[in-house]
């Protein structure tokens, strides 16, 4: 029995870290990994998702629908920003850093000024369960399930739908895509919007478990960039193995040596991976194909 308890503890901690890494990185994987825009406003899309979720849930809307609203709101915000600002910067990666950083500052400070320094939160649904001497939050397991579903969903979307194929064609070979009649401007907007909506989803899903403050996006920023850098350009083949690897490292080090070493481990992994695999895990996995 002891072994089963230990195995479940390890699985729970791995799953918890994996879900956090996948969900916080997914939007960035689309916008940064795939589209190549270094999006420093990623945390603010997450913040937007969280705020809208909490606000709608507090108005009495059922939580899953509130979360959907949060994700959609972030997606809409993403599309608006893409149409007005980002689409001018596709060939100017350094400028896009400055622009998205500016957007991030404006959104954080704007939220602080309009909505104040903090907002009352909502409680975590679904209660807890026990295995052996330990009790666990049920919601955390749901997050793991959602993370896996989102990964599968994105794989299907990008590889088995017309939208996904058009989107990939637009990003890999924009002139050719245009020549065969794809509305590339629209594809860019929708893909960026998808990335923003995924970021918003992360905020929505984690909203019940964190402090609702204007700077909450910063909680996710390190983990998301680390995951995308380790993963490389492919949304599915990059993010999933990167998150799995990092989750093992983080859960093990945090359990063994505490939170500080967990953070240190993540950052050392990135340094090692960038040195050995500059294209990330997906670049390495797909090497045979190109």
């Amino acid at each position: 029995m002891e072994y089963i308890h230990f195995a479940f503890t390890a699985f729970y901690q791995f799953g918890d870290a994996f879900a956090f890494l996948v969900l916080s990185a997914m939007g960035l994987a689309v916008i940064f990994g795939m589209m190549g825009i270094i999006n420093l406003a990623h945390g603010e899309f997450i913040m937007c998702g969280a705020y809208v979720t909490v606000a709608t849930a507090r108005m009495g809307v059922p939580l899953p629908i509130a979360m959907l609203c949060g994700s959609l709101a972030a997606g809409m915000l993403g599309i608006v920003l893409e149409r007005t600002i980002i689409h001018r910067l596709y060939h100017r990666p350094l400028d896009s850093i400055v622009a998205t950083w500016g957007i991030s500052l404006i959104l954080t400070q704007g939220t602080l000024i309009v909505l104040g320094s903090s907002m009352a939160g909502i409680s975590t649904p679904l209660g807890s369960f026990s295995v052996g001497n330990y009790s666990y939050s049920t919601y955390r397991m749901v997050l793991l399930g959602v993370a896996v579903l989102v990964l599968i969903g994105l794989y299907l979307l990008f590889h088995h739908t017309t939208f996904g194929i058009h989107s990939r064609a637009t990003i890999q070979a924009p002139h050719m895509a245009k020549a065969v009649g794809i509305d590339t401007g629209r594809m860019y907007s929708l893909t960026f919007g998808l990335g923003a909506a995924l970021a918003g989803l992360a905020g929505a899903l984690y909203a019940p478990t964190i402090s609702i403050v204007p700077t909450l996006g910063a909680n996710f920023l390190v983990e998301s960039f680390v995951t995308v850098v380790v993963g490389g350009a492919d949304v599915f083949l990059g993010t999933a193995p990167a998150a799995a690897t990092l989750a093992v490292i983080k859960a093990f080090l945090t359990g063994w040596q505490g939170q500080l070493m967990g953070q240190v481990g993540l950052l050392i992994t990135v340094m090692v991976v960038i040195r050995i695999l500059p294209q990330g895990l997906s670049g390495w996995l797909l090497k045979g194909r190109t």
Binding site: A17, S117, A120, Y139, I210, N219, G258, Q263
Partner: protein
């Protein structure tokens, strides 16, 4: 060469002009610099400090100012960033030439700006509870310190719940030194520290920490968590049904987590604080009422708001007793008389001449499962005795240092 001479003359004349302006004539306003975090990780806690200072300044001005001079606030947003404190502390002392500064939330910020206050020989009020031990003639500390918060709280908790203690603390000077205090008191009382985890300020995910705590099965957990990120701990611990009593010197009293998080995540949290808005005394109620009347949108009136407000009146009293002088040494001569006291929101408090810290009435606040507050215990008039008993005496000399239980002043 010629240019530099001209330049030097120009600088000299600017300096002269500057000093002419600042050589206080009796009718110039008294300027008070206010450096507090109005944005960033700590803003949720510290915005009300600025409000409290504004409230006190308005009251003082309406009643004729300090020694007949109007109070003028010079307010900057330090953005929860230690480097901003350093820049802005230089700015208020050097360029704005304020008479005193009210500054700081995080202990890392205080230690970042303190050498600058020393360098310009300024006078700063630190209106925050903290890990204790600052023996510095340029600082007046009105927040509560470990002998007021931990020497009361930890023995009470051990008596109530048992001797095995797990500490989780923010990983910077505040958390590290506070944890040292907890460790020392637990050992003195015959208990045992079964685990300690120091958590970087950016961390907001606590599943593994929660499990580490469950693995050690302590009788209660001491939570010394700081900032909005770390405040996520309570909700996550509650949803994992950790169910252990918690003790803290910082939560509720400054972070009003019982208002920000949905019940029952803060249930069974015990905090020692010198003020929170639930304290039910006539003077506390009057202060809270006044505060909300002036700032109806304020999220909570916390202990730092009360301490900032009290500091304004202590400063007024000191300047007036020094015949209108704002010179640091004149004010310290007043403090040395040993009776600089104020009847304010948290009862009667006095400044201790040896350490320039403040005595406090300490309330033990308990949060129940509906996030209602009760006060199972109060300790009246606890002196900030530790520094003085261990050899810090600012009336004799000024080491401008911070001491900890493992490195006390007399060693």
């Amino acid at each position: 060469m010629k240019y530099s001479t001209i330049q030097r003359t120009a600088t000299l004349s600017t300096l002269l002009a500057g000093s002419l302006v600042t050589s206080a004539s009796a009718n110039d306003p008294i300027q008070i610099g206010v450096l507090e975090d109005q944005s960033g990780n700590f803003a949720a806690v510290t915005q009300v400090k600025v409000n409290a200072i504004e409230l006190a300044a308005e009251e003082i001005n309406a009643a004729g100012g300090i020694a007949g001079r109007e109070v003028e606030l010079v307010i900057y947003d330090t953005q929860s960033d230690d480097r901003r404190y350093q820049e802005l502390m230089r700015r208020v002392l050097q360029r704005d030439q304020v008479d005193t500064v009210f500054a700081g939330f995080a202990s890392s910020s205080r230690e970042a700006y303190r050498p600058i206050v020393n360098q310009f020989d300024g006078l700063a009020f630190y209106n925050n509870q903290y890990e204790g031990g600052v023996c510095d003639a340029n600082m007046i500390v009105t927040g509560a310190v470990p002998e007021q918060q931990f020497s009361t709280l930890i023995p009470w908790m051990m008596e109530e719940y048992g001797p095995n203690v797990y500490t989780i603390a923010a990983d910077y000077n505040f958390g590290q030194i506070s944890a040292e205090w907890v460790r020392q008191i637990v050992e003195e009382e015959g208990g045992e520290i079964v685990g300690e985890d120091f958590i970087p300020l950016g961390v907001s995910q606590f599943s593994q920490t929660i499990q580490n705590i469950q693995g050690e099965a302590p009788d209660f957990v001491v939570t010394l968590l700081v900032g909005s990120n770390q405040a996520s701990y309570y909700e996550q611990a509650a949803s994992a049904n950790l169910g252990l009593p918690m003790a803290s010197s910082v939560n509720v009293g400054q972070g009003y987590e019982h208002k920000r998080f949905a019940p029952p995540s803060l249930a069974n949290m015990f905090v020692t604080t010198n003020f929170i808005e639930e304290v039910d005394t006539p003077e506390a109620n009057a202060f809270v009422e006044k505060f909300y009347e002036r700032f109806p949108d304020a999220p909570y009136v916390n202990q730092e708001a009360a301490n900032s407000y009290i500091s304004m009146y202590l400063y007024k009293q000191m300047v007036e007793r020094a015949d209108g002088s704002t010179d640091k040494e004149d004010l310290r001569a007043v403090i040395a008389e040993g009776d600089v006291c104020f009847d304010g929101p948290s009862g009667t408090v006095c400044l201790d001449p040896k350490s320039q810290h403040m005595s406090h009435n300490i309330f033990l606040a308990k949060v129940d499962e509906n996030h209602e507050i009760s006060f199972p215990e109060t300790w009246e008039n606890i002196e900030p005795y530790w520094l003085g008993e261990n050899g810090c005496d600012l009336t004799q000399n000024d080491p401008s240092a911070q001491y900890t239980p493992s490195s006390p002043p007399n060693e």
